[in-house]
Amino acid sequence: MSEPVSPNGRRALDLVPKAEGKQTMKQFKSDQEVRWCPGCGDYAILAAFQSFLPTLGIRQENTVVVSGIGCSSRFPYYLNTYGMHSIHGRAPAIASGLATTRPDLSVWMITGDGDALSIGGNHLIHALRRNVNIKILLFNNRIYGLTKGQYSPTSELGKVTKSTPVGSADAPFNPVSLALGAEASFVARTLDSDRKHLTSVLSAAAEHQGSAFIEIYQNCPIFNDDAFEVLKNPETRDEAVVRVEHGEPITFGPDGAHCVVRRGFGLAVAKTAEVDPADIVVHDAHDPDPSYAFALSRLPGENLLHTPMGVLRDVPRPSYDEIVRGQLDAARTGKSLDDELDSLLYSGDTWAIV
C-alpha cells in the first residue's frame, strides 16, 4: 500500500541480507517458556509477530529485537532472533546505536506505555525526530503491568489504581498524536486481537525507511481488563473503530453509515447519508503536512469512540543513519587506516629533537 522508498530511493530492508530458503514460523520461536498471565494480549502479538517474521524474507540472524522493561518487554526472549532486554525506557537509545552502526540489520523495538512514554519519553521522541531506522512497537495496555497495576501516562483521567485510590489527576497522552508531534515519518495504530490488521501494519512498517511507530492496543486482563472492549465487542466495534486505508474514503459503521469530513481546522465524524460524497475525506497517509494525520489522531472522543486504526502517516524522510553513514563514506580516503593514523598523529605543529 505504501510508498516505502526514502528520498534517496532506498528501501528499509535493502541492505539486509536475504534468506536463502523458505522460512517458517517455528524457526523464529525460542525454546523459552512464555510467561505472561493467561489471556494477556501479549500472546496474540507474539504469535502474530512470529508468523510475520518469515514473510520478510531476510536472514534470521539479521533481525534484532530490543526492548525496555515491562511485561511487554519480555518479548525478545520468546523469539529466536538476536535480542536484547535492556533497561526501563532506554531501548530507543540502545536500538539507535545499533541501527546506526549496522545497516545490515532489521531492528525492532518493543516497549510499553510506561516504558516508552514515562521513563523513556525523551528517548522516544528523539528517536522519532532523528528518524533512525528502527521499528517501534508500543504495547499500550494503559497501565503498568509489571509493577502490578499503577496508572500509566495513557491511563484515562480519574483512573483508580493502587497508586491513585481516588482517581488519577493527570491527563493522558495520545501516543499517536505525540509521535506525530515528534516528527515521526511512519505512525500507525492496531489492535492485539486483530491478527490480520496487526500483520498488515507490521509489513508496512518493515518496509518503511526510517523510524516506524506502531501503537498496539493490548489488553491486560489482570490490571486493566477490557480497556479496549469497545473496539473489540461486535456490538460496539463498528461504531468505534475508524479504519483508514491509504487512498480510500474514510467511512465506517454498519454499511459505512459514518464518515470523516473536514471541519474547521480539523476533522469530524458525520453521517454518510447527510454529506456530499465529495466531502468525505480520502485517507492520504503520504500527506507531507502532519496536521492531517494529527487531526485524524484527535478524532476519538471519550471511551475510544471513533478510534482510527491503520497507517495514519507514512512519508519519506531521510533517516539519521543513512545521513551519518553517508558522511562517513564521503570522508573515506581509500588509504590504509594505519597510514591515516600516522598522518593524524604527526599533523599540526611538530618539531624534531635529535
Binding site: E61, M84, A93, T101, L328, L344, L345, I353
Partner: protein
C-alpha cells in the same frame, strides 16, 4: 641601546585578562612558539564557566599559565615569574599568586577610575605602593596598539582587540621566541578578513619592537631548548590526546569507533575532536542526554563496534544504570569521565579527582567495572588505548578518568609510531561452543574463556548464534533467565573474578626511588602525577629520600600493590578529593596511609606538596 641577555633555565608566565581579551589564544600562541623552540613546557588554562561574564569584573577574568624550561618539567609551575595583567580585575585576581620581585606587565590604559572601582580598588594599585616590591612594567597596551594601527581601515574596536597580539609580541621579544609561527597562524585564522590579518600582524610586530626600543625593558631572557629524548614532538592537550587514543584503539582493534556524547564541560572537546575524524569511520552521536549517549554506545558495542561515551561527573551519575547493564550483559564499553569540581554543577571549569568513588562503586548491586586513570595530557592517549583494550578483551565497562586539568592543559608529546602501539585483539564468536548430551551443538552466550573469563562476543548477523541477553540474571553458561539463588551467587562472583583477573594482564606498580633508601612512598593516581613528581624531585635535591609510585589502574589494582605499600614505613596519598583512594587502600589492605587532600578546583602546586611531604619524610 644594546640589551642585556640573561640565561634562565625555566620561566613561568601567566597571561591574565578579561574573558574577551583573548588570553587563551595568546597563551596558546606563546606555547606554540616555545614548543617550536624546543623548550619543555606545561600549561594551565583557567577560565570562568560563563562565556562572557560582565567585562572588567573579577568573575570575568581568564588566565593562561605556561611553564617552559630547558629541562623536562612536570607541572605548569606553582607561581608565575611574570604576570601580564590586561586590566585591574586581572591584577587583583592574580596578584596573590605572584611572588615578590616578579615581573608584572600591566596595561595602564585599563586602570581607569571606573574599572578600578568595579573590582573594589579604592586607590590605584599602580600608585599607592601595592606593587612596590614587584618589578612593574607599565605599558599602555591598548593605546599603543591603536596608535600602531592608525593607518588601518578598521574599527577602533577591532584595533583595540589586537592588543593581545601586541602583548604577545612584547613577551616574544622578552623571551626570544620567533613570531613567525604566529604570523602564519593569523594569516590562516583571518583568511577571509585580510584587513584583520595585517592589523594583528602589525600589532604583534609593534609589541616586539616596543620591547626592542623602550628602556623599560632592559633585559632579554633566553631559555635554551630542553634536552628531551630524540623524536618528533607536538604539543597536545589531554582531550585531544584522549580522542586520538580512541581513534588509535579503533584502528588497532579493527573496530569502528562509536562515540555517544552529550555536551558538558570539560568533556565536550572529545566530542568535537572525534567528530572531525570521519575518515576513520568514527561515528559521533550527539544524544538527547547522557543516558541516551551511553545507551547508544552500548547498542553499538552489541553490534560489534567500539562503543564509547565521554562526559563529566554529572553525566556519569546519569549513566550508572546503563553501565550496570553493560556489567550484566558483559559487553565492551568505555566511559570517559573528564572530572570537574562537584557535586552538582560545582565548578564546571575547575579540576578535581572526586569521581573515583563513583567510578568504582556508583552503581547498584555488585557491579564491578575496570577503572583506569590518565596521568598527564599526552598520557590520555595511552590511557584511552588501554581502556579500550581492557573493555574489548574482557567484555567489561571501563571507566577512564581524566580531569579538567589534563583535558585543557598541554605538554609536548613525543609521537609514537603506529606499529609500536599496543595490539588489541578482537575475537567475535562464530560457532557453537557447547555440546548437548545428545551430541548436537548449541551456542551458550555465557560460557567463558578460561583465561580471561570473558564470555563470547557474538554479534547480530552471525548465523546460528542467535541468542538473547538482558539485565535479568543469567544462568551460568546458557545465559537463560535465572532466579536460582546459588546461580546468582555464582554469577556475582564470576563477574567480580573476571574484573579481578585483569590484574594478571597489567604491569606491576613500579616505585621510583633513585637512592633505594626511601622509607616514605608517595602514591598518586591521575593528574597529580606532575605535581607529585616535581615535589619529589625538589625533596631529593634537598637530600631527602622519598619514593614515588603512580597508579594507572585503580580497578583492579596492580597485583603487587599491597606488597609495595608494605615495603615502606609510611605511604602518603595526595588526592584532589577528601581521601577516596586512601580509604580504598585502608579498607583493602589495612594499611594506614596518610592522605594529603585539597579540593580547591586547582591542581596541587609542587611547593605545597614539597612542604607537606618534607614534614613526613623528616619525621619517619
Amino acid at each position: 641601546m644594546a640589551k642585556q641577555v640573561r640565561q634562565l633555565d625555566r620561566v613561568v608566565i601567566r597571561f591574565a585578562g578579561d574573558s574577551g581579551d583573548g588570553m587563551q589564544l595568546t597563551g596558546d600562541r606563546f606555547t606554540a612558539e616555545s614548543a617550536q623552540l624546543g623548550n619543555d613546557l606545561s600549561t594551565l588554562p583557567n577560565f570562568p564557566a560563563e562565556i562572557r561574564a560582565p567585562a572588567g569584573t573579577l568573575p570575568g577574568v581568564s588566565s593562561f599559565q605556561l611553564h617552559f624550561a630547558d629541562y623536562d618539567i612536570l607541572t605548569p609551575g606553582d607561581a608565575p615569574n611574570v604576570l601580564v595583567a590586561m586590566n585591574p580585575a586581572a591584577l587583583k585576581a592574580n596578584l596573590a599568586d605572584v611572588p615578590r620581585a616578579a615581573d608584572i606587565i600591566v596595561n595602564t590604559d585599563e586602570f581607569t577610575k571606573r574599572n578600578l572601582t568595579k573590582v573594589g580598588y579604592d586607590a590605584n594599585p599602580l600608585e599607592d605602593g601595592t606593587l612596590d616590591s614587584y618589578a612593574v612594567h607599565e605599558v599602555p597596551l591598548t593605546s599603543l596598539t591603536v596608535k600602531a594601527l592608525e593607518s588601518f581601515d578598521i574599527s577602533k574596536k577591532d584595533a583595540e582587540r589586537s592588543k593581545n597580539m601586541f602583548a604577545l609580541g612584547l613577551l616574544s621579544w622578552m623571551y626570544n621566541r620567533s613570531v613567525e609561527g604566529t604570523e602564519a597562524f593569523l594569516r590562516k585564522k583571518f583568511a577571509n578578513r585580510p584587513e584583520l590579518v595585517e592589523a594583528n600582524v602589525t600589532a604583534l610586530k609593534a609589541g616586539w619592537n616596543y620591547g626592542e626600543t623602550t628602556e623599560d625593558f632592559a633585559v632579554r631572557y633566553e631559555v635554551k631548548p630542553a634536552k628531551l629524548p630524540a623524536g618528533t614532538y607536538r604539543n597536545i592537550t589531554g582531550n585531544t590526546a584522549l580522542a586520538y587514543g580512541l581513534i588509535a584503539a579503533s584502528v588497532r582493534a579493527g573496530l569502528p569507533l562509536f562515540l555517544g556524547a552529550y555536551p558538558i564541560t570539560p568533556a565536550s572537546d572529545v566530542l568535537h575532536e572525534l567528530s572531525k575524524h570521519k575518515k576513520f569511520g568514527v561515528l559521533t552521536f550527539q544524544a538527547e542526554d547522557e543516558i541516551a549517549a551511553v545507551g547508544a554506545a552500548l547498542g553499538a558495542s552489541y553490534g560489534g563496534a567500539l562503543g564509547v561515551t565521554s562526559t563529566s561527573g554529572p553525566g556519569v551519575a546519569l549513566k550508572g544504570e546503563t553501565i550496570g547493564l553493560a556489567v550484566m550483559q558483559e559487553l565492551p564499553l568505555v566511559i570517559c569521565d573528564i572530572q570537574r569540581a562537584g557535586p552538582s554543577t560545582g565548578m564546571p571549569t575547575k579540576t578535581e579527582q572526586a569521581d573515583l568513588n563513583m567510578a568504582l562503586y556508583g552503581r547498584h548491586g555488585e557491579s564491578p567495572a575496570a577503572v583506569i586513570a590518565a596521568s598527564s595530557p599526552s598520557d590520555c592517549f595511552y590511557a584511552a588505548i588501554e581502556a579500550a583494550r581492557i573493555a574489548v578483551t574482557y567484555r567489561v565497562p571501563v571507566l577512564l578518568l581524566s580531569d579538567g586539568y589534563l583535558a585543557n592543559g598541554s605538554e609536548p608529546w613525543r609521537l609514537p609510531k603506529v606499529a609500536e602501539l599496543p595490539e588489541i585483539t578482537v575475537d567475535f564468536a562464530t560457532a557453537h561452543n557447547h555440546e548437548n548430551p545428545d551430541g548436537s551443538t548449541a551456542f551458550w552466550p555465557y560460557l567463558r574463556d578460561p583465561e580471561t573469563l570473558a564470555r563470547p562476543w557474538a554479534i547480530p548477523g552471525t548465523p546460528g548464534l542467535e541468542h538473547r541477553i538482558g539485565g535479568i540474571e543469567k544462568a551460568d553458561g546458557t545465559g537463560n533467565i535465572s532466579y536460582d539463588p546459588a546461580n546468582h551467587d555464582t554469577m556475582v562472583r564470576l563477574r567480580q573474578a573476571k574484573v579481578d583477573a585483569i590484574a594478571r594482564d597489567i604491569p606491576d606498580l613500579v616505585a621510583d626511588d633513585p637512592s633505594g633508601e626511601a622509607r616514605v612512598l608517595v602514591l598518586g593516581w591521575g593528574s597529580t602525577y606532575g605535581p607529585i613528581g616535581a615535589a619529589v624531585r625538589r625533596l631529593r635535591d634537598n637530600g631527602h629520600h622519598v619514593a614515588q609510585a603512580h597508579l594507572r589502574h585503580l580497578n583492579p589494582l596492580p597485583a603487587n600493590t599491597e606488597a609495595m605499600l608494605r615495603g615502606y614505613d609510611k605511604v602518603v596519598v595526595p588526592e584532589m578529593n577528601l581521601g577516596q583512594l586512601s580509604q580504598l587502600l585502608r579498607g583493602r589492605f589495612l594499611i594506614d596511609v596518610i592522605g594529603y587532600n585539597k579540593v580547591r578546583g586547582l591542581p596541587f602546586t609542587a611547593g605545597e606538596l614539597e612542604s607537606a611531604l618534607e614534614e613526613i619524610v623528616k619525621n619517619v
